[in-house]
Amino acid sequence: MSSQASYPESLLKVFVEGLEKSRERIFKSRDVLLGPLDTEIATTPCEIVYQEDRVKLKYYKPANPENRITTPLLVIYALINRETMLDLQPGRSVVQNLLKEGIDLYMVDWGYPTRKDRFLTIDDHVNGYMDNVVDFVRKRHNVDKINIMGICMGGTFSVMYSALHPEKVKNLITTVTPSNFETSKGLLHIWTRDLNLDHVVDAFGNVPGDLLNIGFLLLNPARLVIDKYMNYFEHIDNKEFIENFIRMEKWIFDSPDVPGETIRQFIDDCYKKNLLIQSKMELDGQVVDLKNLTMPLLNIYGKYDHLVPPEACDALTSKVGSLDAQDICLDTGHIGIFVSSKSQKELIPKVISWLRERDGGKAKRTKH
């Protein structure tokens, strides 16, 4: 009995019709794929104002100098993937939206680690590169403190930095930032329990970006490996869709390797021992005490974030020393929070109004 015999005839008819449509679509797609496509990412003009080893500091001039927020904002992105995600597409760029609101924007570009960076620890990133960058911005703007916005792993680094150098941070914003790693909600949290990353670091030196990408694709192969490309094929004759799709593909697979010792420590101390939220984490012998986070804190996360679920984010505000700590949970996911136009309409105004309220004035002593 062949399996084909069990298929309803109507389905076969629909299938044949689908093939006809696909043929038309492929025919039309020639014009799109072979024609000029605008797929550039990170197109907002910026200036490299500081560089140390592979790490660069980008400065973006505010587009609205009249309504300026006086304190500069430093964005710290994760070591996984690149900060270009914040400037992926014209009209839907976090960078451009922040500039429109009169922010002096600085962004750390961690660059592409090579084998010689394999020994760099979290301490080297936090107390080394980050501290030097913060000092540079403070000096350039002649201010004692600056605003910091950390994203994902960069947010975790920002929490560590702000706890160790509270005198240099005016306001701290953490977005999709894991701080409590003891949760069984996200697959990453489940998988890392049994993973021995020591072996990977010993074998590779740095953890290859491609290896991490395979891990991320495995989080949802049905959607990320099959459905996503079916959708691509469905819209292959739509120029705008294809341009945005390619931009996203460029960003997703632009994955620098992660310095071996840094990720080893991140997995061991954070994911496995959950030391950060207990204020037991140490960087080069210094304890990262969350009670030292006395500056205003805005903690933003996504309700549908499958990488850093809300449970991994929402404990932070209750553990810090600040009396002005606020949680905001948006109806979005890990990436959508920055790239979807709906989320950007929510995220940016919230960040801006929160910063404006605290720009120069006294912080409100409220804990939400």
């Binding site: 010689k116 394999r118 949802n220």
Partner: protein, 287 residues
Amino acid sequence: MNDNRQAWNDPFSAWADLTRSVSDFWQSSAKAWQETATAFTKAAMAREQNETAAAAWKNLFTGAFSPEAMQSLGSSPSFSEVAVEGARSLIDGFLRFQERIKASSGNGQGADSGCHQDIFRMWMEFHEKEIRPLLNVPQVGLTRFHQEKMNQLLDRFNLYQAAVGEFHYLLCRPMETSLKEMRDKLDQSREDDSSKDLKQYYGLWIKTLEGHYMELFQSPEWNKALARLVDEASGFRVSRNEIMADLMQFLPVPTNKEMDEVYKELYTLKKMVKGLMKKAAQQEPNA
């Protein structure tokens, strides 16, 4: 004998012969192991395919211990006798292993049962009991270090292949289950005479597949298989790198190990200098 004497007079040529013979052996073994691993996964996916695995096993033994491979090994002193003994032991172990697979697959359990995953466990046991002791036989002579490393690589490769097989099997399972479910749904829809759009069927399948993957990814068996794969892949890479480093000693290029030593020193020095510069900058305004 003359060949051996000649080889001793010219150590570089001896080394070249050794690497060639080991490489021949390795090539034929690797090919056979590759076929075996593929067959293992296939065997795990459906009971009736056990015959395929058996055929691959035959390939393994005829490949790895083919006259050509044995002849190439024969040129390496002190190895041929051990290899012949090893082959005998391996074949005995293999026959026992095959019996167990046969018993396991013949116990009336269906294709979806866990019995096929046992193949990987049995293979690991077989490897640990029968193959690993052979690979751990102490080596002697000028080339003992290289031979030990080569054996270790073979050991690691076997474990890696088993881990890949298990991982692949688990990863394919939701696909197989979801397709089977979709087939049932299609049959059902024929009986109901309810015609759905092809896209609707596709959407239904993707949703089903996603559900099965989510279920799998939260299971301890997946966690263990993933951890094992990462461990074995890393172990295999380390062993392979060691062999590569040995071979590269004959080339005028630094090895990763040597470069890592330099990087480590550079890292320590840079950190020290940066720390001192920071301290000096802090003291400057006071001076």
